[in-house]
């Protein structure tokens, strides 16, 4: 999408830069160019894009930015725009990383970052005192655990069984399975991630 001359002029003004960039829409062709910048192989490009997207989301979240997903879109839009304008980009990941830092600074300047005393008030997750929701969550958790293969379910439950003796239990499990502690940790958390995703879907459906 081409910018009008007035919009082009506004590009010179840093204060309006954010507005100008946000007006640029990512077209299918531009998105295709962005993907191609990750890899000439379409499938690999998609995987790399999604992986990098996930990393950017966490980057913005842990920098205390609201609406991290939107900021990631802004970042990718800018990168895609540069590609469409013909700017040669050797390493799209490193370039995107740099753009993300700029977007972060812009966001902080806009004071989207909450003051600590506001944080507690705005934590929006449902109260655990709500019995119905708590029961529904437990029910969804049971269903999601039941969907896992029995050995995976047993692995997760055993791993998190006793916090006080966690190290002892983990050592024993790793020895029994013949894997390192870190490999066990990774395996268990991958299963936990699947259960988490399932539970959120279940709660949405409920």
């Amino acid at each position: 999408m081409k910018l009008s001359p007035q919009e082009d002029h506004r590009r010179e003004d840093p204060a309006r830069t954010r507005v100008t960039h946000s007006q640029w829409e990512l077209t299918p062709e531009a998105f295709a160019k962005l993907l191609a910048a990750f890899s000439p192989n379409q499938e690999q490009a998609g995987q790399l894009y999604l992986s990098f997207h996930s990393k950017l989301v966490r980057f913005f979240e842990w920098k205390c930015c609201r609406d991290a997903e939107h900021l990631v879109d802004v970042t990718f839009n800018r990168v895609a725009r540069k590609l469409c304008e013909g700017q040669p980009i050797e390493n799209v990941c490193a370039f995107s990383r740099g753009v993300a830092e700029i977007v972060l600074k812009e966001t902080w300047k806009q004071q989207d970052r909450l003051a600590p005393e506001q944080a507690i008030e705005t934590i929006a997750y449902e109260s655990v005192d709500d019995d119905d929701i708590r029961e529904q969550r437990l029910k969804c958790l049971d269903e999601c655990l039941a969907k896992q293969a029995s050995e995976n379910r047993a692995l997760v439950l055993e791993y998190f069984s006793q916090e006080a003796k966690a190290k002892e239990i983990h050592d024993r499990m790793a020895t029994r399975l013949g894997i390192s502690l870190n490999a066990l940790r990774i395996r268990v958390h991958r299963i936990r991630e699947r259960v988490e995703e399932c539970l959120e879907l279940c709660m949405t459906a409920a």
Binding site: S51, E61, L114, A119, L157, L199
Partner: protein, 322 residues
């Protein structure tokens, strides 16, 4: 502090805001560049959230985290999951629900069929399987008993057959002795008659025309066909007009018998409708002239239903010229 996560790990320190600006940037560069570092960050995120839910963070760490939670729905959802999971574990629900998990989870059919958790807690399928095993074992035991009884019965039959054979052998011996003594007696009578004739001749009285009637007898035992010997040789004395054959049978199961005697020059003599005596013996009388010297075989056939002939025994004997 919980031992679920390593506080010294760089990812944890990053998440809890304990790195310097430069350290943060370096760590961010590493997780952007390396997927393994990023996975470690995601796992550390879960571990930090678990520690938060368990109230194991310091005030400063907790505030730092809550700032991030406030800005991220995704992190809030992770906290909600961690709380639910902790509640579930605290209530022992994962253990209790394990049975309902089994109900919900589509277990492979072979696990469902053969699921027998504990002796005191047999499932219906397990009880049925146990019953099948008991029935199978019972069938094996019964079969074993039946075979043993069959074996004993066969043993008894074999013993009876042996006794029959012994009995027949002794019977044959008795018959042989009796025949020999009869023959001796007949010969003695013949000699006395001859003497009488001679004495009468000396007295000038006419010689009586009455001819003494003599017979030669032979007793044949079963199996003699396979072991011919001198005991089966018969010398027909001069003057003997009759040959009596006593055929000893192993079993006398038929009402009537047929006897076929085959001799030299394909000569055959057949008798039918013969009966066995109580001593299981068939006796037949043949004219001495019908048995010229030579080797003979005798077949005894039992006459069964519908006049069907069944071989009972066979014998051999030899007529020896005097």
């Amino acid at each position: 502090m919980s031992t679920q996560f390593d506080e010294s790990a760089i990812a944890v320190r990053y998440l809890l805001g304990q790195l310097s600006e430069q350290e943060e940037k370096t760590f961010e560069d590493s997780f952007f560049a390396d997927d393994e570092v990023f996975e470690d960050l995601k796992i550390s995120e879960a571990e930090v959230i678990d520690a938060y839910v368990a109230n194991e963070l310091t005030d400063r760490q907790r505030k730092h985290l809550e700032q991030r939670l406030a800005a991220s729905l995704r992190l809030q959802q992770r906290v909600a999951f961690a709380r639910t999971f902790a509640q579930s574990r605290a209530a022992g629900k994962p253990v209790q629900h394990r049975q309902s998990h089994d109900e919900l989870t589509p277990e492979p059919w072979w696990r469902r069929v053969f699921a027998v958790p504990l002796v005191g807690n047999l499932t219906p399928v397990g009880a049925f399987a146990a019953l099948l095993i008991v029935i199978a074992l019972g069938a094996v035991v019964l079969q074993s008993i039946r075979l043993r009884s069959e074996s004993r019965r066969l043993e008894a039959e074999r013993a009876e057959l042996a006794r029959d054979r012994d009995e027949l052998a002794s019977l044959a011996a008795t018959e042989r002795d009796r025949a020999s003594s009869e023959l001796r007696a007949a010969q003695q009578r013949y000699e006395r008659a001859e003497e009488l004739v001679k004495s009468l001749q000396q007295d000038g009285r006419p010689t009586p025309r009455k001819q003494p009637s003599t017979f030669a007898s032979l007793m044949l035992l079963p199996g003699s066909a396979r072991s011919p010997g001198e005991s089966n040789d018969l010398v027909i004395p001069q003057g003997a007009t009759e040959v009596r054959l006593s055929l000893v049978l192993l079993r006398a199961d038929y009402r009537s018998y047929q006897v076929i005697i085959s001799g030299p020059a394909n000569k055959q003599i057949q008798r039918t409708g013969l009966k066995a005596s109580s001593r299981k013996t068939i006796t037949l009388s043949l004219p001495a002239t019908s048995l010229p010297p030579g080797q003979y075989t005798v077949k005894v056939n039992g006459v069964a239903a519908h006049a069907k002939l069944e071989l009972v025994n066979d014998y051999t004997f030899r007529i020896v010229p005097k």
